[in-house]
């Protein structure tokens, strides 16, 4: 089975899981008593955050391996994960803001969870800007690896922020009293299906982006070989 077939198969799996998640969100799950229909944003908001956190953890791991082994594969992996993570972190901020408006009465508040998530987003925007400005240089890849590792420190801070500081952001998955805040088993099932769909989506998009970056690396190598060959070909 070649890489293209795996990517197509994964794409079909993503589509099926996404349709199942949408069915669960809009048909199966009961409407939450306090917040009403807008609470259903939660079922895609949390998986977006999960994908962003997983991506940033992968950026850090890839950064460590790149600095250790110096293999371009790890740099490409880190770059791909950073891009995917930044997009999903942006989606977390946007969907959170849309959810906050009817519930809190404001698009944005400088709450600890929101602020640390915004910092995380800006850190990885900085990573992408650095990579973009540094071009294809080895130094840019090394700096990127260091920034990716340091920025990942904010991920656990975002996760524990609702426990560390006073906040209005709900702690649903693990409440401050312990246990989870989803009172209906259908809510738990819907969240699990959505998490599975977004995990498959994350792997699929990461594969696509990684392959693109590998192609770019191969293109660079070939362009170098071509320049050498043309030089040698001149009389």
């Amino acid at each position: 089975m070649n890489g293209r077939a795996i990517r197509i198969g994964l794409g079909v799996l993503v589509l099926a899981l996404m349709l199942a998640a949408l069915y669960m969100v809009f048909v199966v799950v009961p409407t939450e008593a306090d917040q009403g229909i807008v609470q259903r944003i939660f079922y895609f908001h949390v998986p977006c955050a999960w994908v962003a956190f997983a991506s940033f953890a992968l950026v850090a791991v890839a950064g460590i391996f790149y600095l250790w082994l110096g293999d371009q594969v790890w740099d490409d992996m880190g770059y791909a994960a950073a891009e995917v993570g930044t997009i999903f972190c942006g989606l977390v901020l946007i969907t959170g803001s849309i959810w906050a408006k009817p519930i809190w009465g404001a698009w944005w508040t400088w709450d600890s969870r929101l602020t640390t998530t915004l910092i995380l987003f800006l850190l990885y925007c900085g990573y992408l800007m650095l990579r973009s400005m540094a071009g294809d240089s080895e130094q840019g890849a090394r700096f990127g690896a260091v920034v990716g590792i340091v920025a990942a420190i904010d991920v656990p801070i975002v996760i524990v922020s609702v426990r560390l500081w006073r906040t209005i952001h709900p702690a649903v998955l693990v409440t401050r009293q312990g246990g989870h805040g989803l009172e209906d088993p259908r809510m738990v099932a819907t969240l699990l299906v959505a998490l599975a769909a977004f995990t498959a989506l994350f792997i699929w998009i990461l594969c696509l982006r990684f392959v693109t970056l590998r192609m770019r690396t191969r293109l660079r190598t070939l362009a170098g070989s071509l320049a050498m060959a043309e030089l040698a070909d001149q009389p």
Partner: protein, 61 residues
């Protein structure tokens, strides 16, 4: 059914952004693939000019 607009907006943005990003990757991949093929063929023709015995010459003998 209050706040249905917010729910619709959130889900629409998620799908538009993801679809747009996947489309961007696909287009970039197609462009890179074309560029790679052109470079590989140029490299192959240069290689055959420099070493005729390894390509056409070898087959004729």
């Amino acid at each position: 059914m209050d706040n249905l607009g917010y729910l619709f907006a959130a889900y629409t943005i998620i799908f538009v952004v993801i679809f747009g990003y996947v489309l961007f990757i696909w287009r970039r991949q197609a462009a890179l693939e074309a560029e790679l093929q052109s470079l590989e063929s140029r490299l192959a023709s240069l290689d055959s000019n420099a070493n005729p015995s390894r390509t056409g010459g070898a087959r004729q003998s």
